[in-house]
Structure formats: C-alpha cells, structure tokens
C-alpha cells in the first residue's frame, strides 16, 4: 500500500490544500482511508466520481483528483443516482455528513437504499453540524449540548445503519477514525459490493462537539472511539448489558440476493424494446 505522502501526491489536486478542516478533525483521516481503499482496489481516477452534499465532510470532494461534485445540502444521493444511471460503469462514491444525510437528505437516503443503486455512501458522523458551528443533528446523542440545545437535546438519535437496514440495505458497515485499518477494509468491501453500500464513520469534531460537551482534546475523542467501538465478532458475543453504550464496527450486514438498480433497469429496456418490436412487427 502507498504511503500517505504518495497517496497525497497521486490523488490530491495540486493547489487545493490547505483544507478547511480544524485541527483534530477526523475528516482528513476518512478521506485518507478512502484514498487508500480506492488505490488498493486499483480504480482508475477517470472511473471514479465523488459526489458530496454540503457541510464539513462534503468539502472533501474538491480536494481529490476524480470526477467530483460538491452539490447541495442533502442532495448528494439523487445527483449520484442520476449520474450512476447515466454512467453505470463509473464507481460513484457519495460523501455526506450526519446532518446532510439523515436530516435534510433523509428521504433520499431511505429510497437510495431501497432501490439498491450501485453507490458507495460514506457518512461522516461527527454527531453535530460542524460547518455552521455546532447545532444538533439527528445523530447527536440524546442529552448532548449543542448551540441549538443549550439545555441539552431531548431527541433520541438515529442508528443510521439500523435505519438503512430497515429500508432494505444490502450492505452496511461502520468504522471509526481511530480504527483506520477497519475503515479501509470496510470502504474496500463497500466499493466492491454490487449494490448500495452505506458506511458510517464515527469521527470527532473537537471544535464544535467536543468543546461544548466537555469531551476535550482530539486525542480524548479518539480514545472515546477506541473504548466504545467493538469489532463485530466480539460484539456478537456480548450480552445486552455489555453492549450498553457501545457500538459494533466492521461489516454489519451484507446480502447479494438483490439486483443492483441500473442492472435491473437494463431488464426494463429489454422488455420495452421487445414489446416495441412486437408492436411494429
């Protein structure tokens, strides 16, 4: 595998750095892991499209040398879907944040999952709206402080992978920015999956989540990830009591019994053209 420096030289667009992420932000770790995964999978730059929504995470698309788009808040998935329909041969990777994906873009999420469009969705879950300065998202843990929750949040948060699974997901995975080898591994598997894959990455926002919630420095947020994430194999052996407050990482669900959407659509084209032929014959 290439070193990070080599990856930067190969995949970063010259002149686009420095990035806008704060010191201690996990987004760079995720982008680095994504490049490792793309490189390890041997994908050609021309055949990769990175489509993002709006937010800190979504700025990632602009830094890297692929076919890229930084679109609108919540709308990365429909735009990715349209692109995939036009160009099923492309590896379309969608980058989104917890707010982008589960709040304003929540409707698109469940339907992209349901259709099993061949997209790889990477959800940068930093538990907060970072770009706008620390408002709570649907993935902010209940009881957290946010600039729009000065008296703590009272809303239960989504488990976005359980949500996706209920919507009919064919691939779900989770990793953290502490568990980079796991992250690279699930990204590679998600890219390879022939259908819709959703990968939740738990990442830290020291500036706008950590500070408000007195979690503290970036390293402490990483330590929190280390202490709370449990590899799936170990997770299976835990009872409910031991699981409390923790979460599993790795590939959590995968099935291959459903056709990828653009491939299923090819059958529509076949049926329509056969019917047309019959009509004109």
């Amino acid at each position: 595998m290439k070193s990070m420096e080599e990856l930067v030289n190969v995949y970063f667009r010259p002149g686009r750095l420095p990035h806008l992420w704060c010191p201690g932000c996990g987004n760079g770790v995720i982008l680095g892991a994504l490049l490792k995964a793309i490189d390890a999978e041997g994908l050609e730059k021309d055949n990769v499209a990175i489509i993002s929504g709006i937010g800190c995470s979504s700025r990632a698309s602009g830094y890297v040398d692929f076919n890229t788009a930084n679109t609108l808040h919540g709308r990365a998935l429909p735009i990715s879907t349209g692109l995939k329909m036009a160009r099923p041969d492309l590896n379309v990777i969608t980058l989104s944040g917890d707010g982008d994906c589960s709040a304003i873009g929540g409707n698109h999420l469940i339907h992209a999952v349901r259709r099993n469009v061949g997209l790889t969705l990477v959800v940068f879950n930093n538990s907060i709206y970072g770009m706008t300065g620390g408002q709570y998202s649907p993935l902010t843990p209940i009881g957290s402080r946010a600039t729009t929750a000065p008296y703590l949040t009272i809303e239960p948060s989504f488990d976005i992978l359980a949500l996706a699974q209920a919507a009919g997901a064919t691939f779900t995975a989770r990793a953290t920015t502490y568990h980079v080898p796991v992250l690279v591994d699930v990204l590679r598997k998600g890219i390879r999956h022939d259908g819709f894959s959703i990968i939740e990455v738990v990442t830290g926002c020291p500036t706008n989540f950590g500070r408000q919630n007195k979690i503290g420095a970036p390293a402490l947020m990483m330590e929190w990830q280390k202490d709370h994430a449990v590899p799936r194999a170990a997770w299976e052996k835990l009872d409910d009591e031991a699981r409390r407050g923790k979460f599993p990482i790795g590939v959590l669900f995968e099935r291959t019994d459903e056709k990828e959407y653009t491939k299923a659509y090819d059958e529509i084209i076949e049926r329509a053209q056969a019917a047309k032929k019959e009509e004109t014959a």
């Binding site: 686009r16 021309d46 735009i79 349209g82 329909m85």
Partner: protein, 386 residues
C-alpha cells in the same frame, strides 16, 4: 413521410424530448403534468433511455442534474407545488451550468390551488424562483405541435448555453388535444450536442471562456476530463473562490452568455400586428383566445393584432419596445392577477398605454370576453385616455 396523430400537449412534449435526444427523465407525478412522466416511462426504455420515478420533486431534478453531468440529455416535469420544490436545484444548474430542461405545466396556485385548472401564475417564479441573481431561459408553447417543437428547442438551448431551460406550459396546452404531424423517425432531425473541450484534459479548465462565447465547454463525467462541480461561487477552474472579483466575474459571465445571444434565444410570433392599433400581448394557453379575438376585432373594424412571446425569459424587451412605434395601446392578457404586464410596462416606458386583462378564475377567457377588452382599448385610444 409522417404520422398524423391526435395528441395532448403533454404527449407531444414526450415525443419532442425523445426526438431531441433526451435519454434520462427523473420526476414525481403531479397534475396536470403526469402524462409527461407516464409517456417518458414508456418511451425512454424503447430508445435505450432511462426513466425514474423519484421519491420526491427534489430528487427528480437531482437525478436529472446527475445524469446531465454524466453527459446524457435529461429532463423533468412538474406543476406549481413541485416547481416550488425544484427551485434550489434550478439554482445549482444555473451556477454550475448543468444543462437540463424543467417542464412546468402551470395550474392555479398558490399551495395546492386548483390542480386541474389552468393558470399562468408561475411566470415570474420561472424567472426568479430560485434565490440569488441568476439567468435562465423559459419558453412557452401555445399549441400541441409547438409543444413538440419547443421541447426540442428547450433541449437545444439548454445544451447550447449550459443553463436550465424552463418549458413553461399551462393546463390548457398540456391537456389540449390537437392534430400533430410527426415524422416516422426522428433520426434525421438535427440534435444539438453540448460543446466538448477542444484541449487535452491537463489543459481543461471547466469554466474558462475559451472561444469568446462566454459558454464554457463541458466534459462529461467519466470522459477523461476530471473536473469539479460546485454550487459555491467558483472561478474558471471550477473551484470555490471567495474574492469579490470572483463573484462579480462569475455573475457577469452567466448574465452575458445569454444577453449576448439574445437574438438567437428570444423569439416571438406576430399575428396581424404590423398595422395594429391595439396589440394584444399574450403567451401560452392565453394566446389561443387571442387569435380569434383579433379576427373578431378586425371584423368589427378595429385594427387589432397579437404579439406572442415564445421565449418568456429573457424578456423580449426590444421587440415589445418596438411595438410602440405603431401600436397605440398594448393589451396584456394573462391567466393571473397581472405579472408579465409589469415587464411589458417596463419595456414600453409609458410611450403608449398598457392595459391588463387579467383572468384568474380557473377558466380561460373566451374570444368574446377578450374582444370586449380590445373594444375598450380601442375606445380609450379614440377618446385619448388610457
């Protein structure tokens, strides 16, 4: 050779889109535009294209923008409530210069309004619906054959000028059935292709005006030209740029790329207008009443004519201004409380009186109703009052 058919305007839009090379449609069903979605669902896969019924209106235009980025001509259709929902994405298509066609078959609004009744209340929304300064094209057909022609033209304009084009219809034209003659095959019809880069990938700048046309060449995603689409203000590289100059330059070019091609873009029809004292200004379904009303007025000894903007936006400012050289009064007839009339007044600058016949009660005017308004206008001229 051709086929003579009895089609709805909405069905003619479908055929026009297929003939223009549209190969992707994403949309959400809504009255009175649904026949377009239904027609595209049947016709697109026949020609190897793809149709998607999306989860909502936003995803409809979102998939269209994505498909267009992939180099496929793409279209969506909707009506008032859905048109409101699509506005943010129309802004993205303006800013990132992604060709796409958005059909709005207008119905009575606001809100749910009257879903199956005609209106033209979205004419200003078509121009200013999305936030921020922006420039786009809107065209409005008045007949079923024109639905076919203008859909093709909308696609061509969108591809040529890299901007969203609104095909602004109304329930009258969308649901009206008329005779239309279509070619057996669309293969010989000219199809406009967007301008491809003339430089190798390493020299390609996605938003550079390389030929003075102000319209940058557009590479499809996956064509070997890797570039960045952004709804942030960007410079000619396509990457975000926050300087005052970048913002101004970007706005200037987006405006000028349409302004300098106005002659190609802005079209209108003149019916018995050359010597007319009273010129009716009407577009889309409302114009259908005007032909008969003008004939009736002529029969009654009133020199009446019709000026029908086919391109609604950009506004036919010069042509409307020129009407005042002959006409003694302009009578704007529209199916709303009076929207386009203000644009007409701006162009006329008080040189002649501008009257309004606004109809906003679910029903189009009859020729007799419009004739009565033409008579009032003619009497006003005679008495030298407005």
């Amino acid at each position: 050779m051709g086929r003579v058919l009895l089609l709805q305007g909405n069905q003619a839009v479908v055929e026009g889109a297929i003939a223009a090379g549209v190969r992707f449609y994403g949309g959400y069903p809504i009255t009175p535009s649904t026949e377009i979605a239904e027609g595209m669902a049947k016709r697109l896969p026949e020609v190897g294209g793809k149709f998607m019924q999306t989860e909502d209106e936003l995803a409809g235009i979102g998939t269209v923008i994505g498909a267009s980025m992939g180099g496929v001509k793409a279209m969506t259709a909707t009506s008032g409530p859905g048109f409101s929902l699509k506005q943010e994405m129309i802004g993205l298509a303006c800013s990132a210069e992604i060709p796409c066609v958005i059909v709005n078959v207008q119905r009575v609004g606001p809100a749910t309004g009257q879903p199956t009744s005609p209106a033209q209340g979205d004419v200003m929304q078509a121009r200013w619906g999305t936030h921020g300064d922006h420039w786009l094209i809107a065209v409005s057909p008045s007949s079923v054959p024109e639905c076919f022609d203008l859909t093709r033209r909308a696609v061509a304009l969108s591809e040529t000028y890299r901007c969203p084009v609104i095909l602004l219809m109304d329930e009258i034209v969308g649901h009206m059935r008329e005779r239309i003659e279509l070619p057996d095959s669309y293969e010989h019809l000219p199809v406009v292709k967007r301008k491809a880069p003339s430089v190798p990938p390493e020299e390609y700048m996605a938003y550079a005006d390389t030929d003075g046309s102000k319209v940058p060449a557009m590479a499809a995603f996956g064509s070997g030209y890797r570039w960045h689409v952004s709804g942030l203000v960007h410079d000619e590289t396509g990457f975000p740029k926050g300087t005052p100059a970048a913002t101004k330059n970007s706005q200037d070019r987006l405006r000028e790329k349409l302004a300098k091609n106005e002659e190609d873009i802005v079209k209108a029809e003149r019916y018995r207008a050359d010597d007319a004292d009273v010129v009716v200004v009407a577009y889309g379904g409302a114009a259908r009443t005007a032909y008969d009303a003008v004939d009736l007025a002529r029969g009654a000894g009133i020199r009446a004519g019709l000026f029908r903007p086919i391109t609604i936006w950009p506004f036919a400012e010069r042509a409307i201004g020129e009407l005042t050289q002959k006409a003694k009064c302009l009578l704007v007839h529209e199916l709303n409380c009076g929207q386009y009339v203000r644009e007409v007044e701006r162009a006329v600058k008080g040189r002649v009186p501008v009257r309004l016949y606004a109809k906003y009660d679910n029903e189009p005017a009859t020729p007799e109703q419009l004739l009565a308004e033409i008579r009032k206008a003619a009497e006003g001229i005679k008495e030298g009052r407005q």
